[in-house]
């Protein structure tokens, strides 16, 4: 089977911390609450921890674009430069009309994660948990920024972008992370992978975004997925 995909362009972004804002509703949902459930004490604790965490963000995001990906309908895989990604049916269906694929990585660094662990160790479990959630929402904010950047690239070309998808979500096996990272080449944002596909720093995201004429960002179809803790499910139910 021939594979015509080629690496086209890529880049690394070092956005300024000030542009990122924590999603408080996400944090509350992570605490098992609805926005209206939080009292003043909790909201002020969250605000104070966000202020503590903001200077700790070390935002870094990178992407690489591949032209002419090969979509294999028989097994819902995508071939890029001879590397076969087993993305599964959901991701495959969403990306199959892409003329280009942007692979990306993004991280907020490890300082927030370390601060969370330190708080936990000191017996400040609530503060540690909130800090961990702040790290997650800040990381998603960095990926939103990167997604917008790629959207702008697509706009310049007169094409659209898809939703973003990551190994471990929408039934894309997380073990594909190693293949994804090999395709990212020098655009890994300094993230390393463990044998079990865990990204270090932990507050990191990697994934894929489609670019093409007939693509659009749509609500994630969470009813077909069993991951009740998925950050995209949380977004989609807001």
């Amino acid at each position: 089977m021939s594979d015509y995909s080629i690496q086209n362009e890529g880049g690394t972004l070092f956005p300024d911390n000030d542009i990122f804002h924590a999603d408080i509703d996400y944090i509350l949902r992570g605490l098992g609450m609805q926005p209206g459930d939080a009292d003043e004490y909790l909201l002020s604790l969250i605000a104070s921890l966000i202020a503590d965490c903001k200077p700790m963000i070390e935002a870094r995001a990178a992407f690489i674009v591949y032209n002419s990906p090969q979509f294999n309908p028989e097994d819902n895989t995508i071939t890029l430069c001879s590397t076969v990604l087993n993305v599964g049916k959901v991701v495959w269906q969403s990306l199959k009309h892409s003329s280009e694929l942007a692979l990306f990585s993004a991280t907020c660094g490890d300082k927030i994660e370390k601060y969370s662990k330190q708080l936990m160790k000191q017996g400040q479990a609530l503060e540690g948990l909130i800090t961990d959630l702040i790290g997650s929402t800040m990381t998603e904010a960095i990926v939103d920024y990167l997604h917008d950047h790629i959207k702008n690239i697509a706009f310049m070309k007169g094409i659209e972008v898809s939703n973003r998808y990551s190994p471990g979500y929408c039934n894309w096996n997380v073990s594909d992370q190693h293949k994804l990272f090999s395709l990212l080449k020098n655009y890994t944002s300094g993230i390393s992978l463990t044998d079990s596909s865990l990204m270090l720093p932990v507050k990191s995201v990697s994934g894929i975004i489609g670019l093409g004429e007939n693509l659009k960002c749509i609500a994630y179809k969470c009813n077909i997925c069993s991951d009740k803790n998925c950050i995209m499910r949380i977004h989609s139910t807001l």
């Binding site: 098992g32 909790l42 936990m120 609530l126 961990d132 997380v174 079990s196």
Partner: protein, 224 residues
């Protein structure tokens, strides 16, 4: 203050999450003694540590657990209560060590090999400890050998396996199998974001805990 008053006040502090005098929460109790000070005062007044543990602390955490199950309170309030409970428990530690006060049992917990996530594990450990159990926390990236070694040291303990990734979740299967092979009677509880009841059945574990309170309810059911 008499014995009853001490027990009621300590219990209220735990239930409402008043850790110590300096703690700003709950605002209505600002500047008042918390579970920390009152427990020390109760011990100084000659109240038996076992009475403080059972009639004030564990009773309060049971009410907290009930309120959490009924969705009257949420994770933050439960964690603040557990913190108040643990502040009180610090004063009882010498009595646990001397054997004068007994815990409900032992609970070994760890995040399985390949996985470095510890938030969920730590929260479960904290709530379980607050419910009167001794917790042996093996940390993260724990291989089967380490679990087996801990079980050998604490033969009647119940084991908790935690994982956050679908890739590391599969390590639960081999670890659970090794534990059951060496210690068929040891109860295994599993938990973590990707874990489901179906997966528990598949790997032969005894219980799937959706949240810390579910872990406590299961542990308590084993000694009921």
């Amino acid at each position: 203050m008499n014995k009853e008053e001490f027990l009621v006040q300590i219990s209220e502090c735990v239930e409402l999450g008043k850790v110590n005098k300096a703690a700003p929460f709950p605002p209505a109790m600002k500047g008042m003694d918390g579970a920390d000070e009152l427990t020390q005062q109760a011990l100084n007044a000659g109240i038996e540590p076992e009475t403080i543990l059972n009639s004030a602390l564990i009773a309060a955490m049971e009410r907290v657990g009930e309120k959490f199950s009924q969705k009257k309170i949420f994770v933050p309030q439960m964690l603040i209560s557990a913190k108040a409970m643990n502040a009180a428990m610090e004063h009882l530690k010498p009595f646990f060590q001397s054997g004068q006060v007994q815990r409900k049992g032992k609970f070994i917990i760890g995040t399985v090999s390949g996985d470095l996530h510890d938030i969920g594990k730590n929260l479960v450990a904290m709530i379980v400890e607050g419910a009167g159990w001794e917790v042996i926390d093996l940390g993260v990236d724990v291989k089967a050998d380490k679990f087996l070694h801990a079980i050998a040291q604490h033969p009647n303990a119940i084991v908790g396996l935690s994982a956050l990734l679908t890739t590391t979740m599969t390590n639960m299967k081999s670890i659970a199998a090794e534990i059951k092979k060496a210690y068929p009677l040891v109860k295994i509880m599993i938990g973590g974001a990707p874990v489901t009841e179906d997966f528990r059945i598949e790997i032969g574990a005894d219980h799937f805990s959706r949240d810390p309170q579910s872990a406590v309810s299961y542990l308590n059911s084993l000694i009921a």
